[in-house]
Structures are given as C-alpha cells and as structure tokens.
C-alpha cells in the first residue's frame, strides 16, 4: 500500500524552539522565517538545535565572488553536526556591495555542493514551507553530508514592504529565477514544477533594488533563467 504525506499546518509541531522570547531581526525578516521553519523540520530528529549557532552574536560571513552571500546579524551558514558528516544550511539574502548582477541572482550552489561530495543538495524557499521542511528532513536523514540553499527575501535590502516577504519569495520561484530542485547522490529532481511560469519582469518589478535595470538586462536575465531551467530539466531526466 502506498503511503501519502499530508501537507497541513495543523500537523506541524506547535512547540517553539526558535527564540521563544523574541529576537532582534527586522520586521518581516526572511532569514528569521527560514530559521524558524528549519527548527520546525528538525524537531524530534535528535539534532541539537537548541545549541545551534543562532545564539552566537555576529556570526557574519560574506562570500563576495561566488554570488555574494551576506547576512548582518544573522548567520549566513548554519552548520549542524550529524552522525556522518554535517548538515550545511545557507541562508542567502543576496545582499551585495554595489550593483546586483544577473550572475548573483542565478547561482548554482547545490551543483557545487554535489560536485564536492555532498550526498544531498537542494534549494528551498520559506514561501514553500512544506517543501523546505521535507528537504531539511531528507538532508538530515541522508547518509553523508548535506547542503541546503535557502533564498531568504530581505525587505530592507531588496526594497519592498515587510508584508510581501512571502509573496516575493513565491515570485522568485514562479518566475524561474530560483527554481526549487534537489540533487540526491547526483540525481536531479525538480520538486516544484511551474506549469505557468511568470515573466522575470514581474519578480523584478516588486523590488526597489532593480529600479535602475534596463529592459535589455531584464531580457538577458529572462533568457538565462529559461536556459537554466532547460539545463535542469535535461539533467532531471
């Protein structure tokens, strides 16, 4: 008999491990939202999430050349020790020094992680919470090291209203700028296939940081994004 997974919020654990007395992130913070969902996914799995690195002040890491991942007061890379290897979770809010270019938006960190020996690598976004929770659970239960790249919309850095954090994340997935896929031992799988992908311009228009972008740049980004998806689909077969 087949087993089915029921995706409903009522079945999530209701105990709060993530800073139950409040934290000092900005309002509508995507990183805080992603960290909270990661905590929900890892509850009951035996991970020492209470001692995770969120408690350490100013753990800041900036990777400028490979796509500019930076976080202010939040950790950019959370490492949780596993039985074999480690679980690396990258909280990416795309804050850069200077202009945002297309190669920053379209980075391929899971492919790099998979090539360098991770058994499981995936992308996730807090706008798709059950997808994120499933991926973290898979990453935790796989044999070797695992890597999950989470796109966290940042209302302050990207320039949109705080209430649109989840909406902008969903737009990023729908417009194929940030496709959700996983690589398990070299096998690709697209976990969230968009039947009606939106134009990239819809995603860019919602944010102030692309106010200076020309139509030519947008068209180039659109072309690159659809090329990326075609590449992913050819890998997934």
């Amino acid at each position: 008999m087949d087993t089915y997974t029921l995706y409903a919020g009522q079945f999530l654990p209701f105990k709060e491990h993530f800073n139950p007395k409040g934290h000092n992130a900005c309002k509508g913070c995507g990183v805080a939202l992603a960290v909270r969902q990661v905590y929900k996914a890892l509850e009951g799995s035996g991970a020492h999430i209470d001692n995770a690195h969120w408690q350490i002040p100013w753990q800041e890491s900036v990777i400028v050349k490979s796509g500019a991942i930076a976080a202010g007061t939040q950790p950019a890379l959370l490492t949780i020790a596993k039985k074999d290897g480690a679980l690396y979770i990258c909280f990416d809010n795309e804050s850069t020094e200077g202009k945002v270019e297309a190669d920053i938006l379209l980075k391929k960190l899971p492919a790099m992680a998979s090539a360098s020996g991770c058994d499981y690598a995936a992308t996730a976004c807090p706008s798709h919470p059950f997808d994120l929770i499933e991926k973290i659970k898979k990453a935790w239960s796989c044999a070797g090291s695992a890597f999950v790249h989470i796109l966290c919309p940042c209302p302050v850095g990207w320039g949109f209203e705080a209430e649109n954090t989840v909406k902008v994340g969903r737009r990023a997935v729908e417009s194929l700028v940030f496709p959700l896929y996983e690589i398990a031992q070299g096998y690709y799988k697209i976990t969230c296939e968009e039947t009606k992908p939106q134009a990239v311009a819809v995603y860019l228009k919602a944010q102030n940081r692309f106010a200076g972008w020309s139509a030519k740049k947008t068209a180039a980004l659109q072309e690159q994004a659809s090329e990326n998806l075609a590449h992913l689909k050819s890998k997934a077969q």
């Binding site: 409903a8 919020g9 009522q10 999530l12 209701f14 709060e16 993530f18 800073n19 139950p20 007395k21 409040g22 934290h23 000092n24 992130a25 900005c26 309002k27 509508g28 913070c29 995507g30 805080a32 939202l33 909270r36 969902q37 969120w54 408690q55 350490i56 002040p57 100013w58 202010g72 007061t73 939040q74 950790p75 807090p126 919470p129 209302p155 209203e161 705080a162 209430e163 649109n164 954090t165 989840v166 909406k167």
Partner: protein
C-alpha cells in the same frame, strides 16, 4: 558584557554595543497588530507557519492568536491568509 536592552538611537549615531542574535523581547508594541475573525478562520495554520517572529500561537480551541509583545507588525499573516480572516488593527 552585552546588555539586553532595546534602545532608540538618533539617526546617524555611532553604535557602541555589538549586535547579537540572543533572545530578548523587542520591548515596544507594534503600531498595527493582527486580529483574527473567528467566523472566517478555518484553522489552516498558514499564519502560524509564515510568522517570522514566532508570535502566533495556537489556543486551546484550535484558533490562533498573536502575542503582541513579540509581534513586530509586519503583516505577513494578513497578507497570506486565504480567507481574509486576519486584519491589521491598531494596538491599544
């Protein structure tokens, strides 16, 4: 020693304390807070999943409510509720 206090500083000031992510209550209440309409709520827990501040908790009857001390008034729950049960109103 890091003091766990919430302060309002002037624009352009120098920050002498190091920032930290240790838990502490934000201190001031938000301008607008979420209010649930129980006749429209279907208890789907979407607002609970999407809250970045962990302010929303489930009550004994299955409905949801926000702790206004933790809420920062971002409005994600209002935005993401499919049934329009959450409205942002001024906090007393």
């Amino acid at each position: 020693m890091i003091s766990k206090t919430f302060k309002q500083e002037k624009v352009g000031c120098q920050l002498l304390e190091a920032g930290h992510a240790q838990p502490y209550a934000p201190g001031t209440k938000p301008q607008m807070g979420p209010v649930w309409d129980k006749s429209l709520c279907v208890r789907c827990a979407l607002c609970y999943i999407y809250c970045p501040d962990a302010a929303i908790s489930r009550q004994e009857d299955g409905y949801f409510d926000a702790d206004i001390k933790l809420c920062k008034g971002c409005g994600i729950c209002h935005r993401e509720c499919w049934f329009g049960a959450v409205s942002m109103q001024e906090v007393e």
